[in-house]
Structure formats: structure tokens, C-alpha cells
Amino acid sequence: MSSDGKYGSTTDELRIKAETKVAMQADNNSASSSAPDAKRLLYELQVHQAELEMQNEELQHIKAELLTENALSNELVTWLAQTSSRTTDEPFFNQLACHLAESLNMDFVCIDRLDGDGLTATTVAVWCDGHFEDNVSYALKDTPCGDVVGKTVCCFPAMVCRLFPSDQVLKDLQAESYIGVTLWGHSGKPIGLIAVISRRPLVNRSAAESLMKLVAVRAAGEIERLDAEEQLQRAHNELELRVRERTEELTTALRTLQAESAIRLQAVEALREKEQMLIHQSRQAAMGEMVGNIAHQWRQPLNKLGLLTQRVALFYDSPSFTKEFLDTSVANAMEIIQHMSKTIDDFREYYRPDKEKEPFSVREAIMNSLSLLEGNFQNPTIRVIINDTDDPVINGYKNEFTQVILNILINARDAIVARTPDDAQIIITLCNENGCPAVTVADNAGGIPDEIITKIFDPYFTTKGPQAGTGLGLFMSKAIIEKNMGGTLSVRNANGGAEFRIEMLIRELCHE
């Protein structure tokens, strides 16, 4: 047993106490009759035994105290280990302050965050005499906490009030002892501190200091985690705000666009109507040109009908007037009537404005054009040759397409009338090129002079004079093919004549 008095009594005191105890026991027992030496030895042994018993008692007491202290520390450490950052019941720092006060048996605990300038601190938890107090900011100057910052741990085991006479808080608390630790950030800068204060002198300084150091690491981590979380939340909020703003902007833009596109649609609609009108006008112009032909065309079949009917009356009395004669005459007459009826249908169909795009056969549209022009290719005689390797289908405006072919054919006819080539002919070719319909109409009337070939699609450009041409036919044809049906209409000189070429460029329109 050491004799420096670290625990309890000094050796001398212990000896006196033990002798007193032995004397009391001796009074009770009858004196021994042993020899004085033996007596002396026995006495010494008895005294020593008493000493040992008392020391043992004292050690038991110290052991109990230590165990309690240790249990409290253990409890704190366990709590630290188990408390996840996500504990929601009470803020982490409040719990920590409470546990610290209990474990170290202190009256006051505050956990602070250092403010930007390092001269002030703001509490994140204040525990004082069994309750939490509101958080405050305070200047570090002339406080023990000011001394703490930058040191790992700082301890004033007693009379702290006298050391910091201007610290009103210490005075109010009647503080006696103080321990503080710095909370270090991961980058090595101090970010906060923990201070514990007691009204009694500090008993077990080293244990308290090591516990504080342990807590500091965890608390610093928690502060940084909270900072990071807050930053994350701020970033998240900012992002959400920006998303909201952007969404609003986009919604506004969308509305504006919708309004604009509605207006544009209306404009397109109006334009389409105007164009329809123009197309119709030019169609009528083309028809006007043909009306003379229609008159001529109809006089031929009408004349045949006239002859057939008058013949019946004329031959009635003759021997050749038989049932067969009559039947043949009627059959011939009906054939002519049917043909004329079909011509009417063709014209009426051609006059009908196209309301909607619909799939139609290119060959059929070309045949319609030729049917409408029947008779126009007789004087002078023009051979029309059709090379159809394919029968492409276009999704578009059939009558407008017929009108285009008609315009091109009338142009070819007029060129042939003007130039009178030998063996006048028009070759119409229709095919699918890469899945897209293409139609060429070629004549052999010598071609279009270079100086006007670039102008022939211009509006009001005509070489035919005011009576014959409006100058709108080819202009409208180009508009129909290119604007309304998404194709191209072009012209070139080839094989001794002009060759007009229609290409439907939009693949999806080509095949239904």
C-alpha cells in the first residue's frame, strides 16, 4: 500500500486510528497472560489487521465511486455510439448536452458553433440546472471559451470566476470549475466548442478531459454533417425554386406559343383559302381556254347523233330499214350519249374544289386530263404516248393534280401548234423513283428558249398574248405541286423539246 496519502488517510493517521480500534477491542477482552514479547507481537498484528480492514473499506468506497463514474462515462460513450445522426425525438446537441451534464456531474453545458469572424460564438444547445435555455450569440473575448478556441482542451478546475472577472455568465452561475474543448472541422479549422461548468471544483480532471475530447470529435462531425445537410437542403430548395421558375417560364412560353400558333394556323388557313380561290380561278382560266374546244368537241358527237336519228326517219320506208338497222342505230346513239355523259362528269369532277387530301392514282389523274383535252390533240394531230412502268399513288388533291397535268399538256399543245414539228408527239412517263412517284411530260416542239426558261413559272408570264394566256397556269401548277402537295415541278429542254417533271418528294405520301 502506498503511503503518500493519495487515497484517504496518511500512514500515521492510520496507525493512530488502528491503535485506538485495537485498544477498544482489548478493553473488551480480558488481558492475556502471555509473555510481554508475545503480547507485543500480537498487538502489532492486531493493529496491522485493523489498518488493513480500514484501508480495504476505503478502497471499496473508492471503487464504488469509480464504478459509478465509469458507468456514467460508459453510458455516454454507448449513447454516442448508438445515437444515429437521424435521431428525431430531440435534437442531437440537446441530448448530448444533457448526457454530458449527467456524466460529468456538471451544472451547465453549452455547445457552440463559431461564427464567421471567429470572435463570436452561437450556441446550438444550452443545458443549465436540469433544463434547456434559449440559444444565444456571444463575444468570446474575456471568457474561458475565448481561451479554449484553438486548443484541444482547456481546463480550469477551480476558481474560474476569478480568472475571468468580466464574464457575467460565470458570475451569475457562481461557477467554480470549467472544461472546454474545441470542435475541429475536417479541414483542421476550429468550427465550434463545448464548455461545461460546475459550481464545485473539478474532482477527476483527466477523466473529464478525455471524455470531453471524445465527445468533441463526434460533435464536430455532427456540426459538419448538419452544415452539409443544410447546404444540401439549401441547394435543393434553390433547385426547386429554379425548377418552379423555369416551369413557370416554360408554361408561359408554351401559352404564348400556343396563342401564336393558333394565329399562325388561322393565317395559314386564310392563305390556303386564298390559294384555293386562285387555284380555282386559274382552273377556270384553263377551262375558259378549253370552252371553245368543248363546243367543238361536243358538236362532233352531237352531229353523229343527229345523223343517226335523222337516218332512222330517212330510212324508215326503205327496204334496208330492219330491226337490225334500228338496233345498231340505237346502240351507236347510246354509245355516243354515254361518252358525252362521261365528258360532263369529267368536267364537273374537275371543277369540284378539293376539300381534303386523298390517295389517288396518278395514271387516273393523267387519263382525266387527257379526256378533258380530247379533241385538242386532233388539229394538228398530236400523238400522246404514255409510258407507265408503274401506277404510283399520291396522297393529295386529285383535281389540282389533274389541273397541273392539264396546264402542262395545253402548254405542250400550244408549243406544237406554234412550231408545227413533224410527227408531233407528247410522251408522258410515270414511274416510282426510290419509292416516290415521278411524272414527266415531254414534247418535241423544239424546247423553251433559254431567255425565258427561268421565267415560265413566274405569275402573269405568258408568251401567248392576252387573249390566249393568263400567265397563271404554270405559276399555279408550281404552287399546287410544291406548296400543297410537297413535291417539285421543274422544266428542262431535252430530246428536241420541253420536259416538265413532277416529283413527289415526301416519301410517306407516296404509298398508302
Binding site: 367543238h296 386532233q378 394531230t381
Partner: protein, 130 residues
Amino acid sequence: MNNIRKQICILMVEDDPANQFGTTSILTHWGYQVAVANNGREALDFLAGNACDLVLMDCAMPVMGGYEATAIIRDQSSKVRNHAVPVIALTAHASPEERAQGHAAGMNEYLIKPYLLKDLLAAIEKWTGH
């Protein structure tokens, strides 16, 4: 009368077979002799080699039309035997300009299709006398 008409030769210039047949049958029924040419060129060939009392001339025909053929008939330097043969135009072209063109070419009479048979007969009788 029929006997006299048998001596009268009418040349019909017409490219449409149905018209050829119809008109021929009617003219024959009336008792005339009928020759057919498909166009102006053939008509000139016929008139160069044959006597003819009257020509019924269509105007719009391939190879050579009626106006051109009539002008050549009237042309004294052409090979046609009788430059003064009466020419009756049968045409669908009804405008005054075309009528004037017909007269300029030397056509004697102008019948617009569709025509009445009695008008045709009257014209033939007027220009042949029978």
C-alpha cells in the same frame, strides 16, 4: 331523179369513220355516188385523178385540214382537175372568224355540225342542180 343523181359524184372528206359511214349511207340512200377521203391530202389526190361534182369538206383533220385543202383546190397551179368544184364545209367551228376563214379559202357553203339532213340535201341540190 335517182338516175340523174347516179351520175353525180360527191367526195366526202372526213376523218371520223362513224361520220363517214353515216353520211355515206345517207348520200347513197339519196342516190348519189360517194367517194371518201380521210383527209385533205387524200382529197387532193382524188381530185387530181377523178371528176367530181361536189366536195363535202370537214375542217379539222389530221395530215391536212379542210381550209388548207380548199385553198389548194382553188389554186390554179395545183393538180386538181376542177378548181371550181363546189366545196361545202361541214364543221364544228362555228365562230364568225372561222366562217370568214372558210370563205377566204374558197368554200362555197358552210354547214355547222350538228346539221339537219334537209339543209345538207338543200345545199347539195343547190350546188349540183340535182
